[in-house]
Symmetry: C2
Subunit: 491 residues, 2 copies
């Protein structure tokens, strides 16, 4: 009886197992389809995010197919033989996303192959003199010495940034040529074929990279810096309203465009890579050959400094509401919102000016306004309305105000840096009508009344002019004097 | 007469030129020597900064010399022939500084060669069917399609992080095998030789990389995170004194150890790279195979958040002296210095605990102290002593205090994260005597008196115990209850 029961039980278990497997198999196509659909969506999204990726992929395929003609076409194959393989390899390894990266790798590979080939032949001849027993020992020693020395040199930061790949190929080619020479006496031909096929591969990559929808690292760097300024501007434009007016619940999911600034915090590496690539690139479009790419790195550093302050500000978006009298709150609110809004606008104007490569004079009025708001805020702090206030309630407000003051300072530094860049590479003057109109009309609504802020214009009669009378070119800088070098930039 | 004058003049000029050249030539050896000496110093410094660089260079040389034995030793050469070249290439390309990077590249290269070889042979056979005219067209199409698809897949961020090199080799090998097949009918042998020589190269690299003074990326990551915590700790320990006591002049060249934190701001990329390498590494020393490397990235993010606040604080080191009454100044100074000092000590204790992989309980008292100082500061702000104060003078102080409060919060989060890590990978318990002594002795001098801070211990009788009576394990957390999971960690 027990045996029958156990058999029944086993049958039951087996039945359940089969049933489960059947259901799993039935669901499999659906699951697989789901995965396939999901993957397809990811691919489509990747392509949509940056359509240049699709074009780049096609370009690599094209270059590779072109180079393999060295194999297919008999007259060419007669010339190169198996060495055609080096051309195929070169294309695969050298073809990078941007022109600068491709050119840099190509030049590195080409020159390294040339020098290492020459050195390898020399080493081979030297080793040849030492007889058949000494030759492998001497060759091995040369390879060891050269590999160790080159590997060590690769650790120099400057070398690593620009010539790392060249040194790799140097080690590779030297080892190949000198070691092959031990077996193959036609070492000169081997070296020659390797060099010419590498050059063919590099040229094919570089030419296709430049001719078909080129991706310029320099342009990417320029746009990245401009976009980063814009992201900080977006945050600052939104911050005042978000901090003072929203309810606590709303704040926690602060608008997504205000979280864009986070990517700026870690952009250093990206910027440095792009600048390194950009230095290899020839002049293109609006960029000359010796465009001051290093200045972009400085600008990037200033932008990040501003972003660190903004990250600190962002921490205050989620703090509890301020418990202070509405009168004081309203006053501070007005100034802080103004400071934040105006420096945000200034950054966005700077971003726009960078993007269009026009003179950044349109940002000046916003910077001036933000500085006026700072001064007003300072006077408010000095005034006596605080005597009966709970200081604890003011601390977060004071911190936000203080951070905003730093942001205003950063914005000014960024503006100066953009001005420097503009004078270095001769940004176009924007449609002059706007800035002329402003200065002709006198103080416009845009410019905050800034009491006590005296601006000394560099007129011949050395008269003092209050800030309300904007000097002719509409530009005032921090120190109260008209900025040197900016005289006739806005007009 | 004029002719004679002009000849005289010419002679004079020539004489001057020769004289200048002579001086230049005479100075040349000295200049060259200067350059050589300078370069030698740079090399020595590079080696001294990290002696592992020298060892790595020698390792690469050794691996390369070893692999070239495939050429020199007749029986081996009979087997491999010219394919031995692939082994040499593999060593040059695969041998990286850390074991993880070498292993990752080696595995990528090996598996990509295997799969692409198989696929290439398949493509060759398929193309073979289409006759001698159709073959190159079909082959070219295959190469184009595969190269384009693989290049596109390389753009996926996750793929780029771990399998970028594998896909590169996949494109390369597929193109080589399928295209070579057009000329060489012994394609199977070609593929087989390529695969085996690649495997030999990879194995040689990996074995030498692991056996001779291995550099573990995981250990580097672990030490980097610990060092970063230590750097922030150094700044905070020094900040209070530097900000409040130094004269204005001294502040500008704040001590160099306080500027170390700057490298923390941009450490993200480095951390991510190391974590990616570390994931390839087998268990070693104190690290298991599936060590939670991703948790280090979280810890790194928290550290950077703290560093951003510190950067904001650093901006205040160079501001003008605080113009407020000495009484108030002294009080705030005491609290702020305490907050800064204690969170600095806490971070340094955490760094030390990380480094030694012992339980981070020694940081708890410092965190508790910094939180007490925060509370005291808050009460000070609430008190009435501010009524006759110029608010403008208090704003920078309030900001510094406010930023310090954020730093204290960050420190706490970092501590929690280190605790999590400690429980994940079972950090050793430190010499228990110290923490036991503390709890047995009751409140020690180390722990600040924190009025109004009530700590609820999870005793059976649910009695309320004031903070001064440190609970048995000596650990208190923010919410006032004993931290879950920390019960018996300190003892």
């Amino acid at each position: 009886m027990e045996v029958v029961q156990s058999v029944n039980h086993d049958q039951k278990v087996a039945g359940q197992l089969i049933g489960r497997m059947w259901r799993w198999l039935k669901a499999l196509p659906e699951k697989l389809m789901g995965k396939v659909v999901e993957f397809s969506w990811k691919i489509i999204k990747l392509g949509q995010d940056d359509p240049r990726r699709v074009i780049h992929s096609l370009k690599v395929g094209l270059a590779l197919s072109l180079v393999s003609v060295l194999y297919y076409y008999q007259p060419l194959y007669d010339n190169f033989g198996v060495s055609a393989m080096w051309a195929v390899m070169t294309v695969v390894v050298v073809f990078e996303f941007s022109v600068g990266a491709t050119l840099g790798k190509g030049l590195n590979r080409g020159s390294a192959t040339l020098f290492a080939g020459a050195l390898g032949i020399g080493a081979h001849h030297l080793a040849d003199l030492s007889g058949h027993i000494g030759e492998p020992i001497l060759l091995g020693f040369f390879v060891f010495l050269q590999a160790a020395a080159s590997t060590f040199i690769r650790f120099f930061p400057k070398v690593k940034a620009r010539y790392d790949y060249g040194l790799l190929i140097f080690i590779l080619t030297f080892a190949l040529i000198s070691v092959s020479g031990f077996r193959d006496d036609e070492i000169l031909e081997f070296a020659h074929k390797r060099l010419s096929s590498v050059i063919i591969g590099c040229s094919a990559s570089v030419i296709i990279s430049i001719l078909i929808c080129p991706v310029w690292a320099g342009e990417d760097l320029h746009n990245l810096i401009a976009a980063n300024l814009g992201k900080l501007g977006n945050f600052l434009e939104g911050f005042g309203n978000e901090y003072f007016t929203s309810e606590n619940g709303d704040k926690e999911d602060a608008k997504s465009f205000m979280q864009e600034y986070i990517s700026v915090l870690n952009s250093k590496n990206n910027e440095e890579t792009l600048a390194n690539f950009a230095k290899w690139e020839p002049g293109h479009g609006r960029f000359q050959f010796r465009h001051p790419w290093n200045h972009y790195l400085q600008l990037g550093t200033l932008t990040r400094q501003c972003a660190y302050r903004i990250d600190a500000l962002n921490g205050y978006l989620n703090t509890t509401q301020i418990q202070t009298s509405p009168e004081i709150r309203n006053k501070i609110e007005e100034m802080c919102t103004k400071m934040s809004m105006e420096s945000g606008k200034a950054l966005k104007e700077l971003a726009m000016a960078m993007k269009k490569m026009t003179h950044p004079s349109s940002a000046d009025s916003h910077i001036e306004n933000s500085k006026c708001a700072t001064k007003n805020l300072n006077s408010l702090f000095k005034s006596g309305i605080w005597d009966d206030t709970d200081l604890l309630a003011v601390v977060p407000l004071a911190t936000v105000a203080s951070l905003l003051i730093e942001v205003v300072n950063c914005t000014e530094k960024i503006s100066e840096s953009v001005y420097e860049l503009a004078s270095m590479v001769n940004f176009r003057t924007p449609e002059t009508t706007v800035s002329l109109e402003k200065s002709e009309l006198g103080p416009s609504d845009d410019i905050v009344d800034c009491p006590g802020h005296v601006v000394i214009t560099v007129n011949d009669d050395k008269s003092l002019t209050p800030a309300n009378n904007i000097p002719e070119n509409g530009l005032i800088n921090t120190s109260g004097t008209v900025a040197p070098g900016r005289h006739n930039l806005g007009v």
